[in-house]
């Protein structure tokens, strides 16, 4: 009984560690892609990107001009 509990705790701890690393990787990937997209839509200044996103930038109150 006691050894079973220990084993299940070890397994649980192992999966918790793995999931913490997974969480960090997933969150980092989301932040990276999210920031990249946000920069493109809201901040990048090449004329074509600016013109395409123009009305959306104004509507979302990004500084545009």
């Amino acid at each position: 009984m006691s050894s079973m509990t220990t084993r299940s705790m070890n397994t649980a701890a192992g999966s918790a560690t793995r999931s913490a690393a997974q969480t960090a990787v997933a969150a980092f990937a989301a932040i990276l892609l999210g920031s990249f997209l946000l920069y493109g839509v809201g901040f990048a200044q090449p004329q074509q990107i600016h013109d395409a996103a123009h009305d959306a930038r104004h509507s979302f109150a990004f500084p545009c001009h």
Binding site: T23, A26, L33, G34, G42, F43, D55, A56, S59
Partner: protein, 255 residues
């Protein structure tokens, strides 16, 4: 990885839903104001040009002054449709981008979420990236006077990031020093002050500008409500799984 796939799927769905809703609302609220404001974004014609056609009055739908380059108002149906289409694409991308950032924050906070809690997260996002920057830099119409663009972008980012850090600390931090520093980070851009032009001499009528501010903020609130609620709803199983409290987790087969 399963976690990444599910997080990105949630962000994609939340972004598309909120971006679609924003597109509909914008076409009825902010976009007509933008088009109206662009009529004032003009270059004064040389006096000789305006004096010449005195004998033959121009048709009423043609504007005398010349538009600034790069700000053409759609003249054909095709151009108008293209402009609406590009705005929708930009809105969807904005939705996905914000949903990815909000989803990452929800994941890192590690607290259980559902649609209702997601709504609260969404309101936090609204306060951070819409309300806090607007406190210093009002949503701008084309043709309004503004300080240098890079300065305004930098201030906007610091106000949004500061507010995000401040809200997150107020919601989750235990240490009072951490909370105090985070609140200071939220207040600092406003204490320094947003960059404004030396003289406010925009061409846009103030009534238009005022209507645009409320329309922009109202649309953003709806956008964030949908974005947050959808993120919370689709991530409800995700955060419970990754919650780092194995001792409290129900063992398989225990039910």
């Amino acid at each position: 990885m399963d976690l990444i796939r599910r997080l990105f799927t949630a962000a994609l769905v939340a972004g598309v839903l909120s971006g679609t809703a924003a597109s509909v609302v914008q076409q009825a609220t902010t976009v007509p104001l933008i088009l109206e404001a662009e009529k004032y974004e003009v270059v004064t014609p040389p006096p000789a040009a305006s004096a010449a056609p005195a004998g033959a009055p121009a048709p009423s739908h043609q504007h005398g002054p010349v538009r600034e380059v790069g700000e053409g108002v759609p003249t054909s149906l095709d151009e108008a449709m293209q402009r609406i289409g590009l705005t929708i694409v930009a809105n969807l991308l904005t939705g996905v981008a914000y949903a990815l950032l909000l989803g990452a924050a929800i994941l890192l906070a590690g607290r259980p979420v559902d649609a209702r809690r997601g709504l609260v997260w969404g309101m936090g996002g609204f306060v951070a990236v819409s309300l806090a920057p607007a406190f210093g830099l009002a949503p701008e119409l084309p043709g309004m006077a503004g300080a240098e663009l890079e300065l305004r972008q930098l201030w906007w980012l610091s106000a949004a990031a500061g507010a995000g850090v401040g809200l997150t600390a107020l919601a989750f931090a235990r240490n009072r020093l951490v909370i105090a520093v985070a609140v200071l980070a939220a207040a600092l851009p406003h204490l320094i002050g947003a960059p404004h032009p030396e003289s406010a001499e925009g061409a846009v009528p103030p009534e238009l500008a005022a209507r645009f501010v409320t329309a922009s903020l109202g649309g953003a609130a709806l956008f964030w409500a949908i974005l947050g609620a959808t993120c919370g709803w689709l991530m409800s199983g995700l955060v419970r799984e990754t919650e780092s409290r194995p001792a409290l987790r129900v063992q398989p087969g225990a039910r």
